[in-house]
């Protein structure tokens, strides 16, 4: 059974929040992966919804490409919303 595929687990802590990656596990298929995720990652009421995705289905950026991918954004401060003042009476921003 060591050839069971790896699944990535995403849990939504409560309504209104997004699903967050919490870890991974092995399972023979998607249905069992969901149940294993319930047993491994939501034992202490961590969530109200679970997604499982087979790890092989995820296309990830490579650490080797880190510089080319992310460094060009480092010196473009004008992309950050920091160049205007927030009016004092605006709440929730």
């Amino acid at each position: 059974m060591s050839d069971w595929p790896l699944w990535e687990v995403f849990v939504r802590a409560k309504r209104g929040l997004s699903h967050t990656h919490v870890g991974s596990l092995h399972a023979p298929d998607a249905t069992m992966a969901l149940r294993n995720a319930r047993d491994v990652y939501t034992r202490r009421q961590e969530g109200v919804s679970i997604w499982v995705v087979e790890a092989s289905s995820i296309t990830a950026s490579s650490p080797d490409e880190k510089d080319a991918f992310f460094d060009p954004a480092a010196d473009k401060v004008y992309r950050h919303p920091t160049f205007y003042d927030v009016p004092e009476d605006v709440e929730y921003l």
Binding site: A27, R35, N36
Partner: protein, 275 residues
């Protein structure tokens, strides 16, 4: 599992080694609930043995969760039973300080851990039984039992689903998994009749409105299991000629003593120990 070693000791003359009297009132409810609680407690211990022994660490967790749910059900009932029977015994008194003859669980739950197919067959049947038992118990005249049953109902539904998932996958899997899952169903068969046997205490408790009549659960439980077994391309074994009996009267099979020795060792070696 070794059939030759797991058979129960023969019942000696009733009235001597075995207490066959039926209590009344609160003591009757207590006597009945002890069977329910002991089933949960003993099976919790057996399932806990799967920790580090299941096919995958994920299954270790799954079975440990089931075990803890069952332990919680027993804990919910033991102090209540101690109150009803007038002894004031605590949950630890019940779980750790009773000898074999004082336990009222069925033989099914005390049988030794065998292969995974056997365990899924046992869990499939026992969880189906508990689903129907607790559904009926929500109408119990004993409000504590009704409350425990209402909470436990959701837990055992999940246990049943977990067993169903595995029975279907193993039954409808490879040639070997099919053969071993079928063997598991055969191995548990002799222990099923005891779940649905109307022993004097259960019958009296049902008549008093506190308990659920075991025989009334038989057809719905069999229907539930039959559906899963069919989905798994397995066959339900015919009734076995030899059937376990005596658990509700405190007469147990050989594995029970070993189970208690392991479970109670710490509490008995260090009385009153806390951590």
């Amino acid at each position: 599992m070794n059939d030759t070693t797991s058979r129960p000791a023969p019942v000696s003359s009733p009235g001597r080694a075995v207490d066959t009297s039926v209590p009344t009132g609160d003591r009757l409810t207590a006597a009945y609930l002890l069977g329910v609680a002991d089933d949960a407690m003993v099976y919790a211990q057996r399932l806990a043995e799967w920790l580090t022994n299941a096919p995958q660490i994920e299954e270790d967790m799954a079975l440990a969760n089931v075990s803890l749910d069952l332990l919680g059900q027993a804990r919910g009932l033991y102090p209540h039973i101690g109150g009803l029977d007038g002894t004031g015994r605590s949950e630890d008194d019940f779980a750790m300080l009773r000898d074999e003859r004082q336990w009222r669980n069925v033989h099914l739950v005390e049988q030794e851990r065998a292969d995974f197919g056997f365990e899924m067959a046992r869990l499939l049947w026992f969880s189906a039984y508990q689903v129907e038992l607790y559904a009926g118990a929500t109408h119990s005249a004993d409000t504590t039992f009704a409350a425990v049953a209402a909470k436990a109902g959701k837990e055992v539904s999940y246990h049943h689903d977990h067993a169903r998932q595995w029975v279907v996958r193993l039954g409808d899997g490879t040639e070997e998994s099919h053969r071993r899952m079928q063997a598991g169903l055969h191995a548990v068969q002799p222990y099923l009749a005891e779940l649905f046997d109307d022993d004097p205490v259960s019958r009296a408790a049902a008549e008093a409105g506190a308990g659920v009549l075991p025989s009334s659960l038989h057809d719905v439980v069999v229907t539930r299991v039959t559906g899963v077994v069919g989905e798994a391309t397995l066959e339900l074994p015919s009734d076995s000629r030899w059937r376990s009996r005596g658990g509700r009267q405190g007469v147990h099979s050989r594995p029970m003593g070993h189970l208690l020795a392991e479970m109670q060792h710490l509490a008995r070696s260090h009385p009153g120990a806390t951590w």
